[in-house]
């Protein structure tokens, strides 16, 4: 069973996710993530530049490969520090679609300096897209 599932996991990971180069928050307040299908996830943080120990929200704009806004999507966001093997200290979640294709993620907080990895899972009625951002705080 494990042998059958393992290659599939790897393939779907490679297909769905694109890891953007490490972003130093001081250099760029916004984060842009691209998925394997060319969708873009643009993050505009309430706290800019990003810093630790402050709860805040992100406005997240999603566009498809034709640069068209993607409304009515289900967006789930998870995060953590791969080097420390732990997640976020909070449970951020999308609480509103504030404009067509623009979503409000509330409850974001980072509590350690170092490399953070955030995963964005976008589900529409037709497809699922995954983007991953990695940045240093």
């Amino acid at each position: 069973m494990h042998l059958n599932h393992y290659p599939q996991t790897i393939i779907s990971y490679l297909f769905y996710s694109v890891i953007v180069p490490t972003i130093h928050a001081e250099e760029s307040p916004d984060i842009v993530v691209e998925t394997a299908s060319g969708w873009t996830i643009h993050i505009d943080s309430e706290v800019s530049p990003l810093r630790i120990n402050q709860i805040h929200s992100w406005r997240i704009e999603i566009r498809d490969s034709n640069s068209a806004l993607v409304p009515n999507a289900l967006l789930e966001v998870e995060g953590g520090m791969p080097d420390h093997n732990h997640g976020l200290p909070t449970q951020p979640r999308v609480t509103a679609e504030i404009a067509p294709g623009t979503y409000l993620l509330q409850g974001v907080r980072f509590h350690m300096p170092g490399r953070w990895r955030m995963q964005f899972i976008i589900s529409t009625k037709d497809q699922e897209e995954i983007g991953i951002a990695s940045f240093e705080l």
């Binding site: 120990n53 997640g87 200290p89 909070t90 449970q91 509330q106 409850g107 509590h111 350690m112 300096p113």
Partner: protein, 418 residues
Amino acid sequence: MIKRPVIFGLLSTLSIAIGFLVPIEKSSNWSQRELSLLKSLSISALPELPPDLTNNVSDVEAAAELGHALYFDVRLSGNKSVACSSCHQPTKYFTDGLKIAVGTSQGLRHTPSLVGVAYSPWFYWDGRKDSQWSQALAPLETSHEQNGNRLEIARLVASDENYRQRYEAIFGKLPIIPALPITASPRGNKDQREAWESLGNSQQAQVTKIFSNIGKSLAAYQRKLIPGNSRFDTYIDELDQRGLKSSPIMSTEELAGLSLFIGKAGCVSCHNGPLLTNHEFHNTGILTVSGQLPSMGRYDGIRLAREDPFNCLGKFSDATEAECLELTFAQDTNDLVGAQKTPTLRNVSETFPYMHGGQLEDLLDVMDHYNKAPTSVLSHNEAKPLKLRATQLRQLEALMHTFTAPLSTESKWLKAPE
């Protein structure tokens, strides 16, 4: 003729020997990354204390003055002998020097410092309270802390002319507090709980409102307790863009400790920001408190905070639901089993013993604990063994002493009011 080479030979042998004893700096400058991290730790990077949205009087001077008087008043306790200041003593950076607090009887936890905690979103070692005023209420009615009861405390404020005038100037006219029952509280003993039920909803609401305002006044006072500028901060503030390490302000040993603190020892992962704490919860494999069951820590703490009638979302809070972000989005997973709050390292050399049960006597014990990173009794220890040498542990200990400084708080707040 042959003396000079012998002397040179001796000197070079001596310098090699000294080289083994004194750690040689890898670099004479901090890297830009290190420099940026260090700047973030200085007390000068501490922002102005934001208002507590759950407490409308958090920055009202008259409320701080009322809270100041209440903080030192033993009449708030059941046996009229224990005040907030009995355990959170100004002369000990608002700790008590004991392993486990002793209020009206033996307690369960080590007394944490109150200095700078107004910046934290969570209170108590397990974060069971989400505001400073709701925290301040709990010991008043906890049997082993002050063992008081809200009816008697409300009556004290209403009957003491000084308190009554101050209270009414801030919160408006006090209602008439019934003379009987003498004591009553929903958190008291069986008789007090029955007496509380006998009051009826309207009187219960009035008394609890007064009680919550007393908590808000105590918090307004405790918000004044802010750490001061230490030698560590002066060192960081005087670093220029090149980040030259050596300075007459800190010794070679302390600087070696600082390199470890932000480097190999990884202390800065949790002890970060100007208060040297991330205000979060971590399981670091601390031994269970003797005679107690292992603490579930933050796993239970967040559940208690959500049930607390005095929390941010409760009817005594002054915040709107949309402002209760910390409570609404708090993590509550199994990873929090056994996790305790990261304490500040400000003034840590003077706030011994350490950890939630005072399990570790001194700073070297703490360094030794993190160096070994023992297996946790519950869940898992997030920390990994550091494998540092004894010399390096002493360097870290030396650094801890540089975090100590007199508070930046006006001296009148550091003693009982005149």
